[in-house]
Amino acid sequence: MQPLRQPLLLFLRRHPGWTVTLLLGPAVLWLLVLTLLPMGIMAYYSVLSRGSWGTIIHTLTLDNYRQVADPVFLRILGRSLRLALLTTVLCLLSGYALAYWIAFYGGHRKQLYSFLVILPFWTSDLVRLYAWITLLADHGIINNVLMTLGVLQHPLPLLYNEGAVLLGLVYTYLPFMVLPLYASLERLDRAVLEAAADLGATPAECFSKVTLPLTKGGMLSGAVLVFVPSVGEFLIPELLGGAKTMLLGKFIALKFTGLRHWPLGAAYALVLIAIIVLLLVLYLRLGGSKNAFQAST
């Protein structure tokens, strides 16, 4: 690189427009190859037809989109949105408390605590979900302990229901909420809080009138990071829900595997993306912030 440096700088001085191109290039390429290209392929598949035994025929049609208005799809969409919303709210409540504690009371161990938040990502989520199965099963650790202590006569049905799915969702996506919240709480100017206190605000007022509004950006971005993957989640309802609590991820997967209709599956997937984008736009408008992705103000 070193010998190239001089001519490169010279070139950029003569053609300043190229600076932007070179700086943005890698990111744009990344977006093109890893986001737009796969979406394009999916969009193409979604207008193809299905042949016998699940083969794909390259005849263009919009039939797949006509089939999308299925009442079962709408019902499962409703359930997915409801569970994703609940997950987001629960993550926000518990995540805010945790992030607040780390940012204000973490002391010199702040780094360690925020590191612990992301530690679970070092293991496969599959392994972590199986750990939950071991904990929650009828004859799992929690029920066994409670029955041995005589608290319970019969095991509690902790696994294979909507509650277990919700628990799995909150558990899996909590770090996505904690990290942006921590970043915005960490950068919150402590002088502002002191000023509010000096001017007579009670601790509760300080929190609700200063801290909360100033960390809105972190809350918004955390909420988006939790909500979006929760809506399409496949693995958690499959493992912790016993395949009984169907969410959209499974619904779409069944179009590919059960019906062996890849074009229809692709159409459903695109419709889901469109719905989520629409909801996000609405949400950001209503949230009154165009800076949702800035961790702090």
Binding site: V72, H139, A243, M246, F251, L254, T257, L259
Partner: protein
């Protein structure tokens, strides 16, 4: 009764039952031939094994394996081979095997259809083969590399699903029937009938009821309970079966993928279940209260095959591996531990552990086998109905 007209499959499966070596035959043959002959077979077996070990694989074969990079990617069902099967193959042929497992036919098919996953050997079930062949996903096999096919029962060779075994080699077969835990089900008059599953609603086994997550098999169980043929193509009958399952769903613990059923049976999270025989057999080894039988209304049967995906990077090595799996000793080892019957006739006659061979849940007697119907592929025009019913059941 809406029994469909006899298909090629029916004729084939009937032939299977009639020809099969029954347990009684097995015992009788054992007595007439006496201990001496089995000893002799054992000595011959030992001798041939020793010869094989001494001479080892042909140098030309090793040369071709080397050319392919001494690697092999195998994609199999969970818990389906003896723990020594893969290490022994690696040692004998100097190949590094990467061994992954899948829980369902759907997952195997989807992975292959998506491309990119370069597996060399896969294990699809018979009723999925028409899809693989229609989509051109399998590579034709070179029979010159697969001499051990002769060890397989004639009825598992040259089946209507793959005439001439152009693409697949037989591996093993199993049944889907009724598993239950005797501690919980004793003195239940419905024992031995699908009624144990379908009429237990809100009674003894609510919330302790398990199902496989294979759509075809779950539907078949409901159809058999209602007295219909599991391969029925009558739409109203299928909808009726769907209704029964939908009503039962609130009492179902879970639809267990693959080997998960075994764990649930062991821990007694599930005490009555529609289960593959092998999972119940393996569970019984850990929890003796677990029982399995073919219900009086009938169960379903399937056989798994070994195949090579088109474009597999190590095709010759894959054929060497499949041929190795067709060795009677290897097939017997696998069947002795996986809880399922092998398709290998020589293995059944000579090498299977007598305790496994006499286990009616693995090698069932003729009268139980007569109640087993082999599943047929769902025709394309009925697939949307099946899918709709299944989505409604899981999505309810």
């Amino acid at each position: 009764m809406d029994r469909p007209t006899r298909t090629q499959l029916d004729i084939w499966t009937e032939a299977l039952w009639q020809e099969r070596l029954t347990r009684r035959d097995f015992v009788r043959r054992g007595i007439t031939l006496g201990v001496a002959s089995s000893l002799l077979a054992e000595i011959v077996g030992l001798y041939t094994r020793q010869v094989a070990a001494e001479t080892g694989p042909a140098p030309q074969a090793l040369e071709r394996i080397k050319k392919e990079g001494k690697k092999l990617f195998v994609y199999n069902w969970e818990d389906y081979v003896h723990p020594n099967t893969i290490p022994r193959f690696e040692k004998e042929f100097g190949v590094k095997v990467t061994y992954d497992t899948f829980p369902s036919n759907e997952q195997l098919l989807a992975k292959l259809q998506a491309g990119g996953a370069k597996y060399d050997v896969i294990f699809p079930t018979h009723y999925f083969l028409p899809i693989y062949l229609a989509q051109g996903l399998l590579a034709p096999l070179d029979h010159a590399n697969l001499p051990h096919l002769h060890n397989v029962f004639a009825k598992f060779r040259n089946t209507p699903f793959d005439p001439g075994n152009t693409y697949t080699m037989p591996y093993g077969w199993g049944m889907t029937g009724l598993a239950h835990n005797a501690t919980y089900t004793k003195d239940d008059p419905r024992l031995g009938s699908w009624a144990l599953v379908f009429e237990s609603v809100a009674q003894r086994y609510s919330g302790k009821l398990g199902f496989t997550d294979e759509r075809e098999e779950v539907m078949a169980a409901a159809l058999q309970y209602l007295g219909h043929h599991p391969n029925t193509r009558t739409k109203d009958t299928l909808r009726q079966a769907g209704e029964i399952l939908l009503r039962l769903k609130p009492h179902v613990k879970a639809f267990y993928p693959g080997a998960e059923m075994k764990k649930a049976l062991i821990t007694e999270d599930v005490v009555v279940a529609q289960s593959w025989n092998g999972e119940a057999v393996k569970a019984r080894a850990k929890n003796p209260a677990v029982m399995w039988s073919v219900p009086q209304e009938g169960g379903t049967g399937w056989f798994d095959t070994m195949a090579i995906p088109k474009g597999a990077p190590h095709k010759f090595t894959a054929e060497v591996f499949i041929n190795y799996m067709l060795r009677p000793e290897v097939a017997a080892d696998n069947s002795n531990t996986n809880g399922y019957a092998t398709a290998n006739q020589v293995a059944v006659e000579k090498y299977i552990d007598p305790q496994v061979a006499s286990n009616p849940a693995v090698y069932p007697p003729a009268e139980a086998l007569a109640r087993v119907t082999f599943l047929e592929p769902i025709p394309d025009d009925l697939l949307p109905l099946y899918e709709d019913i299944w989505t409604r059941i899981l999505g309810a």
